[in-house]
Subunit: 128 residues, 2 copies
DNA sequence: TTGTGTTAGCGAAAGGTTTCGCTACACTGT
DNA sequence: ACAGTGTAGCGAAACCTTTCGCTAACACAA
């Protein structure tokens, strides 16, 4: 068994998480609708995936109602933060800033976003 | 077959890429030394992994010399950029800046890095 | 009750990744 | 030439992920 919590979600798992972040709490059918649209997979597949993800601790569900309602355990924010620090660790060897610089350089940012980033930089200078 | 170029490298593949980014161009033995240290795997495994990665176009090698010398096809920079945009696409729904802000907020940056980020922001304003 | 549809679950097939044993080949020193 | 050593490759085992067929349980209308 893979070590719990230390593993990125697989491709399909991530796809399901993304759907949940949009719709949760929601029943299998809704998740399936989106998944089938994108990949044409069977309803059983979605159910199974969710049960696997439950076992891995990626999702929970409310069993008091039918149909059961699923939720992602990690919020989009928290998951993003986790992936990000993994990315930083694995690719950038722990330097968060080099990632930031690259993201800034490659991305197109609006004026308000640029201002927001400046404000953040100022704050960082104030309390190091 | 998986669609070429559209897939993240798997766990071991990434581990090998990281080693290559440090040592390339280098022979199997060197890669294996590091891999074995971390995971205790067999020499054959390393060779096989490299051959799989060749087939996927993740690495190349110079066959004119023995032992063959391996190199990653994508530089660390380019790979990082690719992963990053995948991350942005998949988790942040395409907003690079929200990732940047999060990375800034959670990471500790040195003064020189902060300055560098400011400079970059200025440049972005100049040519939007 | 009987039939119809929706929900949940199991087990196994299909497909991908990771591991290694065994084989072969090239080169070096004797 | 021959043993010994380092290098490369193949095919299959072991393992994980993804898919689905089949079955059961349940609710509700005819």
């Amino acid at each position: 068994m893979r070590e719990l919590g230390s593993s990125q979600p697989t491709a399909v798992e991530l796809e399901i998480l993304r759907i949940l972040w949009d719709l949760e709490p929601c029943p299998v059918r809704d998740i399936h609708a989106r998944l089938a649209e994108a990949k044409g997979t069977n309803y059983s597949t979605t159910v199974k995936m969710l049960s696997v993800m439950m076992q891995k601790g990626l999702v929970t569900r409310n069993e008091k109602v039918t149909p059961h309602l699923y939720k992602a355990v990690l919020s989009r924010q928290k998951a993003a933060k986790k992936f990000l620090s993994e990315l930083i660790e694995k690719i950038y060897d722990g330097s968060a800033m080099s990632l930031v610089l690259q993201a800034l350089a490659s991305g197109k940012a609006s004026q308000s976003e640029i201002n927001e980033a400046r404000k953040l930089l100022d704050e960082m200078e104030d309390k190091p």
